[in-house]
């Protein structure tokens, strides 16, 4: 009987795994089939063009995403390491408990809410949409995830190493600087890449903040295009030509996330 139950369970888990893989393969296949046909050099070096011009690309969106995501990551990494350190150093304080609870809450908040908040706080006070507002909205999405992960990483510092440092007569600040942060270097890098992979595909927080732009705009204080936004705009349009570009954009996004995962795998090995 035990063997039969074991077999049934094996077959069940295997079939679920195959089912999920088929869906994933189907999505990837569709993405590659429809995306690759629209990929050309023009896709990377041309900005958006009006319908009917039979050309146009994602240049403004790729550069926009690069700028918006870079600024967002700077904010995320800086604030999250500080937040994570605070949670690690003062775990029992009321402020820590509030911070941890709010991070968990924010982690589960729909990302569009982050966009709306930034719209009310930043976009309205600035008087216009901007890439910077998009970065702040993306940072709101990434920070909770990375703060909680950083705290976990810092708590993984072996007591043996902490004690070794304290026994040399070092202050807590120096132990954090030279042991905790150094030990956490690779895991923090890995988590940063994961966070980047997560925010890179976010559309909702950018809708009311970066807004999108059909023209090349490199000033983050102006409305900017971004890959997910451009895909969204093209995908909901009624034109086949734009649909093809949207597929190509989605392919680029997936390729970017895949490259990040590969780098992550390499760093994980280095970390070990």
């Amino acid at each position: 009987m035990r063997v039969i139950i074991d077999k049934i369970f094996q077959i069940f888990t295997l079939s679920v795994a195959i089912f999920v893989s088929i869906i994933l393969i189907f999505i990837l296949f569709q993405l590659i089939k429809d995306g690759i046909s629209s990929l050309s050099l023009n896709f990377f070096i041309e900005s958006a063009r009006p319908v009917g011009s039979n050309s146009g690309g994602f240049k403004q969106a790729i550069l926009g995403s690069l700028i918006i995501d870079s600024i967002a990551m700077l904010i995320i990494v800086f604030l999250s390491i500080l937040g994570g350190l605070f949670l690690y150093v003062y775990p029992e304080t009321l402020l820590s408990k509030i911070l941890k609870e709010s991070m968990s809450l924010l982690q589960g908040t729909p990302t569009i809410v982050c966009g709306i908040c930034v719209y009310y706080i930043l976009v309205r006070s600035m008087g216009h949409f901007s890439g910077l507002a998009g970065s702040v909205a993306l940072a709101l999405v990434g920070i909770p995830y990375m703060v909680l992960a950083s705290e976990q990483i810092f708590s993984m510092t072996p007591t043996l190493l902490l004690e070794a440092a304290y026994s040399l007569g070092l202050s807590r600040t120096r132990v954090i600087l030279y042991v905790v942060l150094k030990f956490a270097k690779f895991p923090l890098l890995a988590i940063s890449l994961l966070t980047l992979a997560r925010i890179a595909g976010e559309t909702a927080p950018l809708l009311f903040t970066a807004f999108g732009n059909s023209f090349l705009e490199l000033n983050p204080l102006r409305p900017m295009a971004a890959i997910p936004l451009q895909i969204y705009v093209y995908a909901i349009s009624p034109y086949d030509e734009w649909h093809r570009l949207a597929w190509a954009g989605a392919l680029i996004l997936i390729a970017f996330v895949t490259v990040l995962s590969l780098i992550l795998g390499r760093y994980r090995r280095l970390g070990e």
Partner: protein, 250 residues
Amino acid sequence: MIKMKLQDVHAFFGKNEVLKGINLDIYDKAVTAIIGPSGCGKTTLLRCLNRMHELDKNAYITGKILLDGEDIFKMDLYKVRRKVGMVFQRPNPFPFMSIKDNVLAGFLMSGKRLSKKQKEEICERNLIRVALWDETKDRLNDLPTNLSGGQQQRLCIARALANDPEVILMDEPTSALDPISTAKIEELIVNLKSEIVIVIVTHNMQQAARISDFTSFMYMGSLVEYGITEQIFKVPKEKLTEDYITGRFG
């Protein structure tokens, strides 16, 4: 000459009293061993001597511990730990620093600036002191994870010595090592005692007998007997000590 003096030292973890009024003199240029069964408070006593006990947030110490006549609880905490270094049960070199930087860790991490020549001198001198120079001189920039357990432990002793302490506390430094590495570390301890005070916690009574000048026997948080090693092992005054060293319990 007395280097450290403990007067009515009690140590607590929250409400739990782990050390119950320890009085002990630790002599200069000598090896003092602390023996006793598991859970008797040996390690806690050792960690009181450089206030590492207080790292646990519920832990505290009462009583007096004097270092050269000065109360360590009135001294700067970091200065106490620099003067009273420590080597742990398991080798714990910093895995992200080279062998050389591990020896210099006390300087590098406290932000002291050293010239290249000074760094090389300190590194070489201390690796020679722990008999690790010949084995590592050609790979000083390698990570310590490439060394054997015994070599790593000697590197940790070199790291503690480089900080120029007056006393070194060793918490069962050979318990995780093979017999050959253990023998090397024991030889090292005997060689070092002419220049530094060593207090060692050990589970291994033969080790205490081999390398220490003074031995203290602890039981249930109290110091049962303390004296010259030979006397403790040959003619113990207390019945409990005799029972422990003859293996009737432990």
